[in-house]
Symmetry: C2
Subunit: 204 residues, 2 copies
């Protein structure tokens, strides 16, 4: 069986694009499609056309359009959602969560649509998990681990559960809306955990 030769991805005035450039252009195109039209719009054909790369390349590099979509999403927001480390965990978590709720304020419906679609599409669910959820959780736990090592969290705190009580609480307000998802909410989330909610439990 013969395979058609892969068309060269060319930029004007340059030779064959380096793999890294092709990869970046692909992720950018996928992220744009995702944020503009939702996860169903991210097909290999559309992304290939928009990025000016061959569909064959996408098939080689990503197991599914969903995997491409979520890697694009993760990459697009990596800087916005970076975890600062000034040494003050309360301030750093606040800044990161402010950026997160600001982002959900802009792109909330798209993000909700992505998570919603994953509930009835096992391939999409796997892609969301492997290309987004697990990586974001690992970054959060990494920052929380440093805080614990620095003595800013109790030694016996279960860090994974904090991910659900900070970022998960925000996703809850996004997906089952009832109350504002804003910076004031972030302050409550952090305050509840660091001060404790029992009387006399104030650490401040």
């Amino acid at each position: 069986m013969e395979h058609a030769p892969e068309p060269r991805a060319l930029k004007p005035g340059r030779g064959r694009r380096r793999a890294e450039d092709v990869r970046r252009a692909t992720l950018t195109a996928a992220a744009e499609l995702l944020l503009a039209e939702g996860v169903q719009a991210v097909t290999f054909a559309k992304v290939a056309a928009q990025a000016g790369v061959s569909k064959m390349t996408l098939y080689k590099w990503w197991p599914s359009p969903g995997a491409l979509a979520f890697e694009a999403y993760f990459t697009a927001f990596r800087e916005t959602l970076a975890f600062p480390d000034t040494g003050d965990v309360v301030r750093d978590l606040s800044e990161q969560l402010y950026a997160f709720v600001d982002l959900l304020g802009r792109n909330g419906p798209v993000v909700a649509g992505i998570i919603g679609a994953a509930q009835s599409d096992p391939d999409l669910a796997e892609a969301l998990s492997e290309r987004y959820v697990l990586q974001r959780r690992a970054l959060a736990v990494e920052r929380l681990t440093r805080a614990r090592e620095a003595g800013q969290l109790r030694a016996d705190v279960d860090l994974e559960s904090l991910v659900d009580q900070l970022w998960g609480a925000c996703y809850h307000r996004l997906l089952m809306p009832a109350q504002p998802l804003d910076r004031g909410f972030v302050d409550h989330l952090i305050g509840n955990l660091f001060r404790g909610i029992a009387p006399g439990g104030e650490a401040s």
Copy 2:
């Protein structure tokens, strides 16, 4: 314009069923359909057939099949998810949340499917909000308010944010799975909040 007379809903050996009986039979049938086949299966036609009531009655009583589905869901789990009040808020929240994660352990995929479908269906989203989310939140806040009045929570705690950090954290593990959604998780959620996560913030 003439309306067809509404067919009588009859049970063998009895006269016209009382409205309350019809309502209960309808909600039971809707809940069974919802849990067996998901929210898309809850149509007025199917529920009417299964409950032995007229479709016209359902049109009169519920604005949409989604509204019926979520009222049925709320009703079906009202007892399971009741908020005990023994006077000990930590124990009561634990018991309620144990029941909640047990329920998600049994019916998790259906619940996730419901919330997922609501993300791309505005009518379903409205029904979920009005017939489930707002009512469940109100019940939780009611129990938390009594705890605060009893001096078991700091006076300045924002109760709405606690809903997101307890039940919302569980929904997060359901919808974006990565870690176990079990009773041990519930213990962490409650412990993080009541003890606080800062060193020296232990209330216990």
